[in-house]
């Protein structure tokens, strides 16, 4: 259960430390190149495909950084791309029973009416409550931080759906026939965002990231200080939704 935790990369702390040492200028210098990199936007360079026969490495922690400031109002391209990629196409008479691997959420600041939209999905917690409660061991976290359901052992009890603070999981209610061969899914099992594990293992990025016309999503290895995502997290303020739960998410947000 104890996973390698991603170091806290709050840029303000680095700055305060530098300022405390009496070299405030250094803090700024360290931040500035990071900001520059973000502006250039070397976003989402395909990661390397893992060689056949090798296991997922705990040295890697896959993550996603979502810039809510860029997410366009009313756009559902990421949801469509996700559900196409993963074969989540069934439309049930009761729409509440449809699986949702991603949903769009609108936040309204009641004081000034400012609206923010953002996509919400499994946050790929480092300390996932869904894994804690699962009675069969079906809910699991891979070495590289991707949280999955092993449908071979899932009994559909839905404990994990109740435990997840983000409503990230869905139960499949009906028999299915149109599955993508790379994404098996079926009736009676719980499912959630897999971070497109079948694509990531091939060196591709998740379908949602690829589909976003605004470039609002950045995918990469949080543990690799030279990755675009780690650099941006090191240089701009980012948040984890309900960070007070201390689940240490792989999915981070910017501009909330």
């Amino acid at each position: 259960m104890t996973a390698p935790q991603t170091p806290d990369r709050n840029p303000r702390r680095a700055f305060i430390a530098a300022a405390g040492a009496g070299v405030a200028g250094l803090g700024f210098a360290a931040i500035a190149p990071g900001l520059h990199l973000m502006a250039v936007g070397e976003a989402n360079a395909a990661t390397e495909a893992r060689k056949a026969g090798t296991a997922a490495s705990p040295a890697v922690r896959w993550g996603l950084l979502i810039d809510a400031g860029k997410c366009a109002p009313g756009c559902t391209k990421c949801i469509d791309a996700c559900h196409t990629e993963n074969g989540v196409t069934e439309k049930l008479p009761d729409p509440r029973q449809n699986s949702q691997w991603i949903r769009k959420i609108e936040l309204v600041d009641r004081r000034d009416g400012r609206k923010t939209e953002l996509p919400m999905m499994c946050q790929h917690c480092a300390n996932p409550p869904c894994v804690d409660v699962c009675p069969t061991g079906a809910s699991m976290k891979r070495a590289d931080g991707i949280v999955l359901v092993d449908r071979h052992t899932c009994i559909g009890c839905r404990y994990c759906m109740m435990a997840c603070p983000y409503k990230a999981r869905s139960l499949v209610h009906v028999p299915l026939t149109e599955q993508n061969p790379e994404v098996p899914r079926g009736q009676g099992c719980v499912e959630s965002c897999t971070l497109c594990v079948h694509r990531v293992d091939k060196g591709q990025t998740p379908a949602c990231v690829e589909s976003c016309p605004e470039g609002a999503m950045l995918f990469g290895d949080l543990n690799d200080p030279s990755s675009a995502i780690a650099k941006r997290i090191a240089s701009v303020p980012t948040t984890q939704v309900r960070a007070d739960l201390r689940l240490n998410h792989g999915v981070r947000y910017q501009g909330l």
């Binding site: 891979r142 071979h152 028999p175 098996p184």
Partner: protein, 133 residues
């Protein structure tokens, strides 16, 4: 246990020189197994008949839980090779209504439930609508 038993039954049928209930008038017609791509299997037929479920069970854990890709035993690889050329599937009635397709033929004969395809796609080269290669 059921699966091992079933595999043994199958293996016995395969090696027995004079099947007890062959020919006309049998209660359950013997499975007609069509091998679409002979000689390409990852292991000899005897071993596959006996152990395919074990091979797939261990592979699925390595792939899903450890993230190991590209293993020789892979359900998708089985399907790609064994799907009927006529119907594209390892399930269902074979071409011309004679017998059933690869997986279903034996499994229905020995009455072993075939759970794999409640989640896995039984058709070869199936492209879910809109998925890019």
């Amino acid at each position: 246990m059921m699966r091992i038993l079933a595999a043994m039954v199958l293996a016995m049928i395969a090696v027995s020189p004079a099947p007890t209930f062959a020919g006309e008038g049998e209660r359950t017609p013997k499975p007609v197994v069509t091998i679409e791509n002979p000689g390409k299997c990852v292991a000899p037929a005897e071993e596959m008949r006996r152990n395919h479920m074990e091979m797939l069970k261990h592979q699925r854990d390595r792939t899903l839980r450890a993230g190991i890709r590209g293993e020789p035993a892979s359900l998708n690889a089985c399907i790609e090779c064994h799907a009927s050329k006529a119907t594209g599937s390892v399930l269902g009635t074979a071409e011309g209504g004679k017998g059933r397709n690869f997986c279903e033929s034996c499994h229905s004969y020995v009455a072993v439930k075939l759970d794999c395809f409640e989640c896995h796609q039984p058709k070869a080269k199936f492209k879910a609508a809109g998925v890019k290669p």
